[in-house]
């Protein structure tokens, strides 16, 4: 772990001398090869929620979790690479909000910039919080703390401070290049840490057939039960899944979120930028095997004492006494008093988030266990650094330069970018501590962000492919889409939940079989309302002159011929390959 930390900061130091202009710092000088951008593209998304969360969902919902990849990511990644990247990269916008200003107007950009900046801060704070919690649970810092004579309760604070300093060091010094390089490093590290885990786990349970033999068929089929929400573990029917997750949420994230788009914008040429998400789609497609399979393996093992240890031979903790109520390697949730948490029916609530950590501890001996834990921590840090670099760019270009200090020198903006990194991380730390105190506030904020994000893709779709779309329409469309999301959520409730943060705070006129179904339908409503309102308002407002929209709208942009490239570098060919492979995977695990 120490070796890794040293390398991470070392890269920042090595890259510092190249950071001469703000473009170097925020856009990596637009000089990165496509494969590097591609790996950074998925690695930035590979934060806490991804590795721990997908392992947990794998244990909870089975292979159906792969919908978040094969339906919920790949088609959108192909779309952004083939159709949208020409406008992002070609317009020379430096960020997604800046594209909105070029295409629409200042207020649409302001709305997007401010909501996005706030969101990145909280995401990085939540990432930090989750990491500190995990370090505490796994007792990773106990041995060094013990030798320093500090109380074990300092573990949480130490984790936050150390992770903040490491990310701060490499982002302040090397900017986006440093973040991208580290993300690539983290990508390889995660693969290196999880591949042997999957190998050992599969060997132990007897391969895919062994899992099939241990678990009911709902766990090992991703589509079979999708006809009705009652027959699959997700509690969603196919239409809500495909439209809500596969279309609205996935396209909204992969095609408009600056956190990922920024990685492609750093590419050295237009065709490299377009290839970035397509190259990223290839490893993304096989990630379910790295993160979902361990979760599945964990539930298919016979129940046994879940041992959590440090790997340093100190402070061994056995949760054996609660394993009786757990399932496989998944222990029951423990409340403050040390008793297992039970639901209304008296069945123990399982702590699925411990699926991956327990798998690591179960199969890895000292040595490689250190590598596995480092991989886990690397994934937290890459998620955090991704948010921080997206924040400093949007803050500097779209908030500071746009509204606070217009005509400063480039050196000043470079300095501002570094400062933004510092206070961005400081704010993340406060967000992390806020999360420890007010868990409900975090849930509430994530809900608000979901409302703000859901309609975004409708705005981009119309903006890029319908030249008649106007700025007023985009703005009102976004606001009404967000309102529609809030109202829909306020009027519906997932089965078994009490009215409140889960929905139904206005009135309950419809009940969904699961929270996931409710989320997907909230997104579908938000998108549709935004789409319709934007069209209606566009028709009654004055469109912009066509000459102003060249390079920003599909019909007014000259298509670059990419005929001179070899076939494997042509975005359309790559897109078809990627989509075909995703289709094959869906059929195999039908």
């Amino acid at each position: 772990m120490g070796v890794y930390a040293l390398f991470v900061v070392g890269i920042g130091v090595a890259l510092k001398r190249y950071m001469k202009t703000s473009t170097d710092f925020f856009l990596a000088g637009r000089s990165i090869p496509a494969w590097v951008c591609g790996l950074a593209f998925i690695s930035a998304n590979l934060g806490a929620q991804e590795v721990i969360g997908m392992g947990a969902s794998g244990a909870k919902y089975g292979i159906a979790t792969s919908h978040f990849y094969w339906i919920g990511a790949i088609p959108a990644m192909a779309f952004v690479g083939i159709f949208m990247m020409p406008f992002y990269y070609g317009s020379r916008a430096r960020s997604v909000p800046e594209y909105l200003r070029l295409r629409f107007d200042e207020k649409t950009r302001g709305l997007n910039a401010i909501s996005f900046a706030t969101m990145t801060i909280f995401s990085s704070g939540i990432s930090m919080y989750a990491m500190a919690k995990l370090i505490q649970t796994l007792h990773i810092l106990d041995a060094p703390l013990h030798s320093l004579g500090l109380p074990l309760s300092a573990s949480f604070h130490c984790s936050i401070v150390i992770s903040a300093i490491v990310v701060l060091a490499y982002v302040v010094l090397g900017g986006l290049v440093s973040a991208i390089y580290n993300e690539v490093l983290q990508f390889f590290l995660i693969v290196a840490g999880f591949l042997p885990l999957v190998f050992l786990g599969l060997k132990d349970v007897g391969g895919w057939n062994g899992i099939k033999a241990h678990l009911p068929p709902a766990y090992t089929h991703s589509w079979q039960g999708m006809g009705s929400s009652q027959t699959n573990l997700l509690g969603v029917e196919w239409f809500g899944l495909v439209m809500g997750l596969g279309f609205v949420l996935s396209f909204g994230y992969w095609c408009t979120d600056f956190l990922v788009v920024q990685r492609a914008m750093a590419a050295h040429s237009m065709s490299a930028a377009r290839r970035t998400p397509l190259i990223a789609a290839l490893p993304k497609m096989v990630f379910p095997f790295l993160v979902i399979l361990p979760g599945l393996i964990a539930v298919s093992l016979p129940a046994q004492p879940a041992v959590l240890s440090t790997g340093h031979g100190a402070a061994e903790t056995t949760l054996g006494e609660v394993a009786a109520t757990g399932r496989g390697l998944i222990p029951a949730k423990i409340d403050q008093t040390g008793n297992p948490v039970v639901d209304a029916n008296g069945i123990a609530v399982l702590d699925y988030d411990l699926a991956i950590p327990n798998m690591l501890v179960h199969y890895f001996p000292t040595g490689i266990l250190g590598l596995g834990l480092t991989a886990l921590l690397a994934s937290f840090m890459s998620g955090m650094a991704g948010n921080v670099t997206a924040f400093n760019t949007v803050w500097t270009y779209d908030i500071y330069q746009a509204y606070l200090h217009k005509d400063a020198s480039d050196q000043h903006y470079l300095w501002m970018g570094r400062m933004a990194t510092v206070f961005g991380i400081a704010l993340s730390i406060s967000a992390a501590y806020a999360a420890t105190r007010f868990n409900n506030i975090m849930d509430f904020l994530q809900l608000v962000f979901a409302f703000v994000n859901a309609p975004l893709f409708a705005t981009f779709l119309l903006g890029m492919f319908w030249k008649r779309t106007t700025g007023h329409a985009a703005f009102t469309g976004l606001l009404s889409g967000t309102a529609a999301a809030a109202i829909h959520q306020g009027l519906t409730l997932p089965a078994g939940a009490a009215p409140g943060i889960k929905g139904g705070w206005l009135a309950t006129i419809h009940s969904y079989p699961s929270e996931m179904a409710q989320n997907f339908w909230t997104a579908i409503w938000a998108w549709s309302v935004c789409f319709l309102v934007t069209i209606l308002v566009s028709l009654i407002t004055q469109p912009r002159k066509e000459s102003e929209l060249a390079g920003l709208v599909y019909s007014l942009t000259q298509r670059n011929s990419e005929g001179h490239l070899p076939w494997y570098q042509r975005p359309v060919v790559l897109g078809v390959v990627v989509l075909t492979l995703a289709l094959i995977l869906n059929i195999i695990f039908w």
Binding site: Y4, A272, Y363, G367, I368
Partner: protein, 84 residues
């Protein structure tokens, strides 16, 4: 950018692979009960070491031809082929 990403990746994995494989050789075999009797430290350490060395080699070739490169695999193979 001036630093070829393959160099740091290669170095990191060479170091990690070396440490892991080294630990695999000297460690007590009893700890491998968890990993189904396989000495995963040694096996995986060697694999990481090989991966790291390959990355360093490619990274070195990449940075020597950097000034006039086009960043296509074909180009890289071509220039690499020129050297015995």
């Amino acid at each position: 950018m001036g630093l070829d990403i393959r160099l740091p990746i290669g170095l990191l994995f060479s170091v990690l692979g070396f440490l892991l494989a080294g630990f695999g050789v000297i460690s007590d075999k009893g700890i491998y009960q968890r990993s189904l009797g396989l000495n995963v430290n040694l096996a995986w350490g060697v694999i990481l070491l090989i991966f790291g060395i390959i990355m360093v080699v490619f990274g070195n070739r990449g940075s020597t031809i950097r000034p006039h490169e086009q960043d296509t695999a074909i180009n890289r193979d071509h220039s690499a082929g020129g050297k015995p």
